[in-house]
Amino acid sequence: MPECEGIPVSYFELTLPLDHEWMPDEVFPIAARFYLAPRGHPDKGIVLGSETGTCVTLPAAFREFRGTRRLHEVPAEKLFLRPTVVLDIPKNAREEITEEDVRAAFDQQDPNPGEAVLIRTGWGDRERHKQPGGGYILETPHFSLGAAELLASRMREKDSDLLLADVSVIGWPGKHMIPEWCSLLPRPGPWPSPEAQMYLHLYSGEKVKEDFAVELVFARAGIMTVKRLIHCGAIAVKGIKIIVSPLHIVRGVSSTCRVIAIEEP
C-alpha cells in the first residue's frame, strides 16, 4: 500500500477510460466523437469533445453564467486533494434521484463545511459502460428537479461548490432531446454527423433550458458538476480526498477529466 507522510493510503481510479475503439457516451447529438489518429494520418493526435467521458462542467457552460470563472481560473485547491463526503443513494437503471433520497442521504451523513459531495448510486459499478448499445447513457439514474434544488441548497449551506456523481447524465433531457433524437432509427451518430449538425442547428436556447433544467439549478448555485464516475463502490469510507484533474483549457467551461479518490485510514 502506498504511503503519504508515513500514513498508508489507497488510491482509486474513478475515471471512465477514453477508448479510441468505442466510447459508451456517444449517444446524443451534443456528444462529440472521441478518436485517436496515428502519425501519418491527416488528423494525427487526439480529437475529443469538452464533455467526453468523465467530465467536469462549470456554471459558465451556460449563457446566464458565462461571466463566472473558467477552467484556467479555478484554483487548484478547488479540484485537487479536496475533502469530500460520499453520500449513498442506491439506484437502479432509469430511476430518478428524488428530493426524499437527498434528504435521507444528508440525514445519514452531514457534510462538513467546504467539502465536495460525491453521490454514489452504484450505476458506475455495473459495468454498463463496457456493454454495447446506448444503455450506459439511456438507462442511467439521474436527478429530478426537486432533488437538484434541495441538493444545491444543502450544498450552498455548507459552502460546497463541487458535486460528483456516478451517473451518466445529471438531469434527464426528456422534454426535447430524448423524444426527438431517440425516435430516429437507426440512431444517427453524434456530432459531427449530418443529423447531429442539423439537430443542434434547431436546438434552441429555450429547448436547452428545458432539457438542462437540472444542470441549470446547480449552475445557478455556483456548483461545478462532475459526471460519469465509475467504480465508486471500491471506496470503503465516507470521508475521502478527491482529485478532479481536467485539461487546463484557457477560457474553457467543461472538460474531460481524470478523477482519483484518496482514502486515508
Binding site: 477508448d19 496515428p38 502519425r39 486533494l81 442547428h201 436546438y203 483549457i249 484557457v250 474553457g252
Partner: protein, 276 residues
C-alpha cells in the same frame, strides 16, 4: 499544504502546436454549440499527445504502434497501465540548473545541479531552469520554443544514468524542448537551411515532404536525441511545465495526471506540486 499548478494551459494556436513539423500538431477548437444559438457551449478539441505540458511514455505512438521511441526502454507502460502510486503524491526532487535563453545544459552543470539537490532513491526528477513561465508562454508564441534552454546530449546521458541508478520514474522539466532547438528544429526552424516563412505543421504539404525526405517523422539532425537518452530510462518524459519557480522547497510531492487514454502513449497532463 500549498498546491502549485505547474501545467501549461491549452489554447488554440498555442506555440507548442505550431513550431514542429509533426511531433506536436496545432491545437484547434470548434464550438459546435454556442451561447448565442444554444445557450450553452460544447467544444470539439483537436489536440496532440504533446499539447500543453505533455506526458510521453516510451511507446509514445501507442495504441497504434508499441515500438518504443528508443530500443530496450526500462518501462513500457502505456497511459492506462501506470500504477496510480507513481502518479499521485509521489516524491520528486527539484534539480536546479538556472539557464538563460537558448542555453544548452552541459554535463558539468547537470552534475553540479544533481549534487546540489536533495535526491532520494525513487524520486521523480523535476529539472528546473526557470524558463517556463505562463507570461513568457503567452507572450512569445513559437519563440518560446525557439529560444528555450535545453539539454545537451551528454548532459542528458548523465542525468539518465543517474535516474536509472536512483530508480527514478518520471523526468519533468520547464524547458520548452528537451532537445536543443537546433537539433529538434534542424532545417525546419533552425539549422543550415531553415524554412522561411515557417510552414504550418502536419498535415501541411511541407511537413509531408519533410517526412518523405527523412523516411519517417524524425527530427532530421545528425546529432543524437537528448530526449531519446532520457526516455529509455523512465516511465515518461514531461516537458513545458510552467511556474516551477513558485516551488520553495527542494523536494515536493507531485500529482501528475495525464488523460486516461486506454493503451495510449502520450497525452496532455496536469502537474500539481504539493508543498507541506
Amino acid at each position: 499544504m500549498r498546491l502549485i499548478d505547474l501545467t501549461m494551459p491549452i489554447w488554440p494556436g498555442a506555440g507548442y502546436g505550431e513550431i514542429l513539423p509533426f511531433t506536436n500538431t496545432p491545437v484547434q477548437f470548434f464550438e459546435y454549440m454556442d451561447y448565442e444559438r444554444n445557450g450553452t457551449r460544447m467544444t470539439r478539441m483537436k489536440l496532440d499527445g504533446e499539447s500543453g505540458s505533455p506526458f510521453m511514455t516510451p511507446p509514445q505512438h501507442a495504441p497504434f504502434s508499441m515500438t518504443p521511441l528508443q530500443p530496450n526502454p526500462r518501462y513500457m507502460w502505456t497511459l492506462s497501465e501506470i500504477p496510480l502510486e507513481r502518479l499521485v503524491l509521489h516524491d520528486a526532487t527539484v534539480v536546479d540548473v538556472s539557464a538563460e535563453e537558448g542555453h544548452e545544459i552541459t554535463p558539468e552543470e547537470m552534475e553540479q545541479a544533481i549534487a546540489g539537490s536533495e535526491y532520494h532513491r525513487g524520486d521523480h526528477v523535476l529539472l528546473r531552469t526557470g524558463w517556463g513561465t505562463l507570461e513568457r508562454a503567452y507572450d512569445l508564441g513559437i519563440d518560446y520554443y525557439k529560444r528555450t534552454p535545453s539539454i545537451r546530449y551528454d548532459a542528458a546521458l548523465l542525468l539518465a544514468g543517474t535516474m536509472e541508478r536512483m530508480d527514478s520514474g518520471l523526468f519533468m522539466t520547464d524547458c520548452g524542448l528537451v532537445n536543443p532547438p537546433r537539433v529538434q528544429g534542424h532545417n525546419w526552424f533552425r539549422g543550415d537551411s531553415p524554412l522561411r516563412p515557417l510552414p504550418k505543421p502536419w498535415p501541411s504539404m511541407e511537413a509531408r515532404e519533410r517526412a518523405m525526405d527523412l523516411g519517417g517523422p524524425r527530427h532530421g539532425s545528425p546529432e543524437p536525441s537528448s530526449y531519446g537518452a532520457l526516455i529509455r530510462k523512465v516511465i515518461a518524459g514531461c516537458k513545458c511545465l510552467v511556474n516551477c519557480h513558485q516551488i520553495a522547497r527542494k523536494r515536493v510531492k507531485m500529482i501528475v495526471l495525464p488523460l486516461l487514454i486506454k493503451k495510449g502513449g502520450a497525452s496532455p497532463c496536469r502537474f500539481i506540486a504539493v508543498e507541506d
